[in-house]
Symmetry: C2
Subunit: 522 residues, 2 copies
Amino acid sequence: MTDLSPVARWGDPADAVTLPPGVRDLLGAALGVRPPRPAAATARLPRPTLGAPVLEALRAACPRVETGDADRLAHAAGKSTVDLLRLRGGEAPGAPDAVARPGGHDEVVALLAACAAHHVAVVPFGGGTSVVGGLAAGREGFAGVLALDLAGLDRLVRLDPVSRTATFEAGVRAPRAEQLLAAEGFTLGHFPQSFEYASLGGFAATRSSGQASAGHGRFDRMVVGLRAATPVGPLELGRAPESAAGPDLRQLLLGSEGVFGVITELTLRLRPAPAARRYAGWAFASFAAGTRALRTLTQDGPLPTVLRLSDETETAINATTGGGADAGGGCLAVVGFEGTEADVATRGEAAARRLTELGGTPLGEAPGEQWRAGRFRAPYLRDALLDAGALAETLETATFWDRLPETYAAVRDALTGALSAAGTPPLVLCHISHVYETGASLYFTVVAAQAPDPVAQWGAAKAAAGDAIAATGATITHHHGVGRDHKPWYAREIGPVGVAALRGVKDSLDPYGILNPGILLP
Amino acid sequence: MTDLSPVARWGDPADAVTLPPGVRDLLGAALGVRPPRPAAATARLPRPTLGAPVLEALRAACPRVETGDADRLAHAAGKSTVDLLRLRGGEAPGAPDAVARPGGHDEVVALLAACAAHHVAVVPFGGGTSVVGGLAAGREGFAGVLALDLAGLDRLVRLDPVSRTATFEAGVRAPRAEQLLAAEGFTLGHFPQSFEYASLGGFAATRSSGQASAGHGRFDRMVVGLRAATPVGPLELGRAPESAAGPDLRQLLLGSEGVFGVITELTLRLRPAPAARRYAGWAFASFAAGTRALRTLTQDGPLPTVLRLSDETETAINATTGGGADAGGGCLAVVGFEGTEADVATRGEAAARRLTELGGTPLGEAPGEQWRAGRFRAPYLRDALLDAGALAETLETATFWDRLPETYAAVRDALTGALSAAGTPPLVLCHISHVYETGASLYFTVVAAQAPDPVAQWGAAKAAAGDAIAATGATITHHHGVGRDHKPWYAREIGPVGVAALRGVKDSLDPYGILNPGILLP
């Protein structure tokens, strides 16, 4: 029995937030939220099944293999609301039998060989921030489960200032990478909400997308080279920024969520650290008007570094709870430029002219800076909402611009319908946070009163939303990944031939099937 | 025995060029070029091996199946110099037994089923412009070979002006696509040298890159959705511009050169047709100085739409032969901007300031427009050189900026060394024509006197160049593809695990192995 407090919440306890009394009252009055059962103090871990000879073989491959409860619990789950609810209930069904901490590529290779020999399932573990059940490997049919914690692969291997690339080991955490790059005047420009904890390898394995993706692109577009350990040998890719030498195999490993191999090294495109930064708030009369403005900037420029738009509900809730500016009943956009002083000034002014033409009202820099200051705080707010007895979770999708309104309405209706049917009508907030010339993402936040079985309650709502996403032709995930939670929709999305292609790769690279069983692959 | 004239040369006979007498004299004096043996008038085709029952089955799938010599010859080879030399020698070893012209996706599916049932090898055929042996499928072990000419898949299926995407059938030729899009105010912006003949499906299957790739990106980055027919069923990909739902399977089909499936439909990102265009010439003192200028514009902006740099030899030869401006013994860059009037002016002026700071001398618009006017003419010039008894061919690579000088020197030395050893010292010209933040392409043109066996002569030079590319860590092809010619280097480039991944996909999607046997897959 092990202390749950470090794992059943997000991040650093010192950064925990408490809900303002006004919010607490709102939850009770508007949503019927009532205090929940007290969270469990300790967790039940599954009985470990790895015998001494297997552990000896693993330790021969890598000396740092731990089997203590604290280590097992720390690798038992990701950070989805369902993960947290289960842990708060004292359940840790995904806990591995052991945790290995390899110190480099060669130890990863040796561990994979030992796991293959002894039929041990392997869960590559970066920052542990999956919100789609990406760390809950199946143990059925295996001698046991080994978490492969990559935190020891923590070096900047090479920085090439001419090509503007950096080669990192895959376990490097994002803040550490930015710190190392800042010392040389560079940045990756990748700032997802998980930034403070996630690893570069995790970004790659899940096709992460950061809040500055408008300007800096998705993480998968930053990867110009990679090295992976597979059970059949190493894979090294990326001799040039782009190539016509066959399919882009980098893109086959990116998003593979550890089922084809363990990414051990990444070569990433760098950008100069910005000298200037200007984030402004803009009000639009409606989500439709704001969406049109975002589309116009994205298609015709000037393209901001950060470009976001909250819908009417999200704007109003954020304004009420002190998390955003009042947009006069409309929608708040955040438009951020980063770069040289001259560039930020020129592009910022051009964008301001265009946004004004498009019906936008400038709200100044305060709302932009307010968003920037709080942009990694939402997971802490979720903890506080769960503490208060609310169900709080997010989900996201992306589609082409012409389908966006339909997907937006369908997902909102599905979430509202499913949770209302359960007797817990929700608040559904939405924003656009990632834009492309041809389309954009939609990110939904759902808050409702917790039902007696909140895991089942969310499961039904999530299924309804997934069905709505699929029915309107959108993708089941823009940046959270597939994990376990999205598998049914993923299989439909790529169809049986897509599944066959993935299975073909899987059978070739992981013939023993030890890598992340139950994750990603339908 | 069939008339060779339409196939053993590039393009439209009406556009053929004749070498100016000065060039002819130069070839003789500088390279020792002598008039070649007269080209054969007719070609020997391999004996067809498909029996009547098989042809009947094929015609049941698609009524338009031809077995005449002219059709077979027209699908016998691509447009590499080796292809043309063989055809000029009266050899057409790659001629298929029959040519099918399906009218749509369903007929492609039916043909694949018939070919699987009768073990007929299938060669998807777009514009027929491969320069890497991409159309020379193996017939060993098959009942015969069927060329699948996709010219009948020629429709614009849908244009979405909001998302700025167009869905085309894969057989649409590039000029036709541009014509259809221009009517709606759009462009793809994809203008490779093969533009006048190549098909959209061919661009996709080979990861084509156009001359405006600096501004518009590679073709693979334009593809937001695709449909392919495989022997195990259809594959439809692309529900959003980008997704975190597993590996990007679009990127697995792009560059697959027909070995996993036949791409039948593509959804492509569009750009507004440019209102203004300004192409200028710039002189730099050296290839190194010009390379630095290109890198700076690419990394720090403003990024041109077209950005090219000829080395000293190419610059001098082009100036001498009337194909380019004099750069005072240095190197000529072409810097082109396209877009709105205001945008072209602003970016053009900013680029001019930066290029001047970087040591460039402006040569005005004439050299830029001269390049633009002649940009699809090089293959006609090659025909004229072959007519005159010269060997003329190109090859290309890409790598990161820091390795570019080493690769450049190594490939030039390898070509010069190999051809000099054969008694035919060459002219080797080079330019950079595709730029990325982290690196660039190198495109080499080689001219020498033909040896008695020019196919073997070029084979040795090409192998030496390929080895030099591999030894310096560059990719064996930036935009020509793998085909048959690059297979040995491709296998080394992706390694045994990369090959295993491709084989896994192949075995899953084409279990009968009928698709383009001998192409791409090591």
